[in-house]
Point group: C2
Chain length 352, copies 2
Amino acid sequence: MASGGGVDEVRNKQVILKDYVSGFPKESDMYLNASGTIKLKVPESSNAILVKNMYLSCDPYMRGRMKQPIPGNETYIEPFKPGSPIVGNGVAKVLDSGHPDFKKGDLIWGVTGWEEYSLITATQTLFKIHHTDVPLSYYTGLLGMPGITAYAGFYEICSPKKGEHVFISAASGAVGQLVGQLAKLLGCYVVGSAGSKEKVDLLKNKFGFNEAFNYKEEPDLHEALKRYFPEGIDIYFENVGGKMLDAVLLNVRAHGRIAVCGMISQYNLEHPEGVHNLMTVIWKRVRIEGFVCDEYCHLFPKFLELVLPYIKEGKITYVEDVAEGLESAPAALIGLFTGRNVGKQVVVVARE
Amino acid sequence: MASGGGVDEVRNKQVILKDYVSGFPKESDMYLNASGTIKLKVPESSNAILVKNMYLSCDPYMRGRMKQPIPGNETYIEPFKPGSPIVGNGVAKVLDSGHPDFKKGDLIWGVTGWEEYSLITATQTLFKIHHTDVPLSYYTGLLGMPGITAYAGFYEICSPKKGEHVFISAASGAVGQLVGQLAKLLGCYVVGSAGSKEKVDLLKNKFGFNEAFNYKEEPDLHEALKRYFPEGIDIYFENVGGKMLDAVLLNVRAHGRIAVCGMISQYNLEHPEGVHNLMTVIWKRVRIEGFVCDEYCHLFPKFLELVLPYIKEGKITYVEDVAEGLESAPAALIGLFTGRNVGKQVVVVARE
């Protein structure tokens, strides 16, 4: 039974956002508060749950939440609160529950805090974890929000057909690696771009992309894409924006589709770069469509049904970059924006 | 019976493209050749038709056809041929026919030459005119290619719903004036932009737009749109591109749709302007979609069925800017790019 009375408090380390961030974020925009405490019980007559956080997810969209909101021009998600812990997706274990749907010992994934323990009131956003014969950390990536993002973005937005030519930027990232594998399983020709030789090797040798290239070594992205897509691009899964989008627009095929998942190259710029080749959308009758995974959560059961067997058969694989300890979380998050991470960036707070 | 033998030749004035054009086109990029002649009979055993041109259509997309083609980066339509007459849509009367579907006296609209008489071999692109109780020149505009463009762009690309907030740029042009009236008839809130007081007056007083503004008098397009769309834009019918698109992206509502019909502000620039606010397509889950009317010609009968009664009931009206004589055609075409025309730009070659 939920009761807060007479329970000892334990330490609860937290990663706190110092203040709103403009420009390139730094580790010092956050700090570790090691002096906080928490009672490991939900307050009486609350229907919240109290969880022990295990794995935290570092995602590029979190950069947007560090920004000072501009009145009248809010984004789809509210900003972080300076002085409070960062919030994001994570995997956690229920220690106490005032909610009929959750009980002690349940594993969940969803929105939690960057801290050792969290009291979660918005339980409607959580998913219970039923399949534990896969790494639990996958619920921050392959089987979590990035997974649904890849699935919904590819199947719902890209309208893919067998044999089509698919290009994915930031292709070794949390979302890209799955999009590429889904596209390959459908019978598409798949090319990815990434920012290092190691990532390019992963794309070609681990994820089975047809081709991959290091965008940092390409003096002319337009020429690079022409080389890999002499007949043009049917589908572009957009994760980076800016110059890459401009180059894709010059190489897109008639009736091409561009699913805009993210534009990480633009998130830290004071003024976003200009995209110059949009006239192509007329000539080539292109559809550019933005989406956010929050609107596709209802597809989660269908998504699991598709992906779990593939994982067990070894037909879908996943690479994670695991940072140890809450202390490492700020650097792990910042690392996304320099491309330091190889694969999905996870922070381990506790393994059980 | 079609026969070229023993038939006298008549004079056939033509408007010739001198050479490929870069930058802003000038009247002197074309010239009138008054010395040509033509036989008013189709050659023996040809299935072409010989027509007398009556009304010629000046359309912004024609600028793209004046450009030197870039190998490997062709647009959806082939360039004009320097030294040959301009080609475009027009209304014409059949004088002789080698084709079973056409006979002497038929009125047609479709692709013809900028000349007094044309021998048309690509007869599959022509439409026969069955309704002559409307001005024949309408088949270059309201009932022609711009009409289908407005109809397909609005109904097929914008997915409009009653009560939605619709913004149209170049709104008094050949396409925009019809889009606005279709949107009003559906029960939308409709605002248009144009480049002069006269055009703004037309939008508000003749076409029944809820509001209209002169973009040239707005120091900040973002603020102007905020003023007319305090709750945001659901549908943007894009005819101009560049800065206007950037301002719309800052004012678009969640799940907004942008139908990209044209980007006339960009056609004469050596380097198109950059569009900076594309990140909004993610946050607001926006769809941007380009289209060309050629892919919607099958809708023409359905379109006529909708629009003809509205015209007869006075519920849809149309404004044309009529230039007299083939000699005036080059200036009329160039005038599109300075916004000189008020309404659909037509050139009369002959009234019967």
